[in-house]
């Protein structure tokens, strides 16, 4: 009896590694599917009118710098990725498109501009003359996010701290 017990005690115990390996492989698969590399992403601060939808107390009129963005030429939508990169986009909502031949222009007061550097220069001049003036961005029908962001960027760069948006969804609807 004592001999049997001695043999059992001396016997090397082998741990079953299979469950641990299974779990670790499942963890790897989980991370592989969830992997999203950190991207260099930033933000631009802007404000919406505070008194929309409520009866706000009347305030004194403040002359705002209004920057309007118009689409001059909507351009053609083409596939942005393979297969068929560059071919006319056929309206598949889940496939990326790019614009070809798109033209926009900007208007501050009566002045129309096509170049971003002119917009930047004018915004800087306006801000230097009256630093307290807020600015509003008016994106007209057909404009896209990439048309608006450079204008917000230039307004912040010029020194404007209060940037608001104007316009109504219904007015901007496709014709």
């Amino acid at each position: 009896m004592s001999q049997v017990l001695k043999e059992i005690a001396e016997e090397q115990t082998q741990m079953d590694m299979t469950p641990m390996i299974d779990v670790t492989f499942q963890l790897i698969i989980f991370f592989l599917f969830n992997i999203r590399f950190k991207v260099l992403e930033g933000k631009l601060a802007a404000y919406l009118p505070k008194d929309v939808g409520v009866n706000a107390a009347p305030a004194g009129p403040i002359e705002k710098v209004e920057i309007a963005i118009f689409v001059e030429e909507p351009g053609q939508k083409v596939y942005a990725e393979e297969p068929g990169k560059g071919a006319p986009w056929r309206g598949e909502p889940d496939r990326r498109f790019d614009f070809v031949g798109r033209k926009v222009y900007y208007q501050i007061g009566p002045k129309k501009m096509r170049e971003m550097k002119d917009v930047g220069r004018m915004l800087k001049d306006l801000h230097d003359k009256t630093p307290d003036r807020p600015s509003t961005i008016d994106c007209r029908a057909g404009t896209v996010y990439a048309d608006m962001i450079p204008v917000v960027d230039l307004a912040i760069d010029a020194g404007f701290t209060e940037i608001t948006f104007v316009g109504e969804y219904k007015k901007a609807k496709k014709k």
Partner: protein, 173 residues
């Protein structure tokens, strides 16, 4: 002829240690580089902005993130809150979400209007080719009574150090 002293009939055991080491190292690598907080961020092509500030969200602060891909769908944490194809003018789900977020935000009295307004921003992440009217739709809902979120953050891609250097070189020329 005695070719081998080894017992050919015995079980061959594979040394698992290097494989387990490697697997654990892989797990540690993935754990370090995976940012699970980015689950709220859809894969979009953001326009670039020079003045964009690095986004360092405070995990304790409730900040809603609204994604708008170029197809115009409004997505929050992988849940489509508004689909222009299906929902048309019905924005109830999105409105409900924004109202809920506004309620959770800390409030502050605005001196100019005398209104008590939510004080946290709403982040709008839209694809470069997303029509502005979709963003306008979100902005309009933000202004509704009971929501009144007035601070917005517009997501943009930041310039890489190489792009900054190239721009500065161009200015010098």
């Amino acid at each position: 002829m005695n070719l081998s002293k080894h017992d050919a009939g015995g079980a061959v055991t594979m040394d698992m240690t290097p494989m387990i080491d490697m697997v654990f190292q892989l797990i540690i690598f993935f754990m370090l580089i995976t940012d699970l907080s980015q689950r709220e961020l859809e894969e979009l092509q953001l326009p670039q902005a020079r003045s964009a500030l690095e986004d360092k969200p405070d995990p304790k602060v409730a900040r809603p993130i609204v994604n708008v891909p170029q197809n115009g769908r409004i997505i929050v944490s992988r849940d489509v809150k508004y689909d222009p194809e299906k929902d048309g003018d019905d924005t109830l789900r999105l409105e409900g979400y924004l109202a809920d977020m506004a309620r959770r935000m800390p409030t502050k009295k605005d001196e100019a209007t005398g209104l008590v307004l939510p004080d946290n921003p709403l982040m709008i992440r839209a694809d470069a080719n997303t029509e502005f009217r979709m963003i306008q739709r979100i902005m309009e809902l933000c202004g509704k009574k009971g929501i009144q979120i007035w601070k917005v953050e517009l997501a943009a891609a930041m310039e890489t150090p190489e792009q900054i250097a190239a721009r500065e070189n161009k200015l010098k020329e």
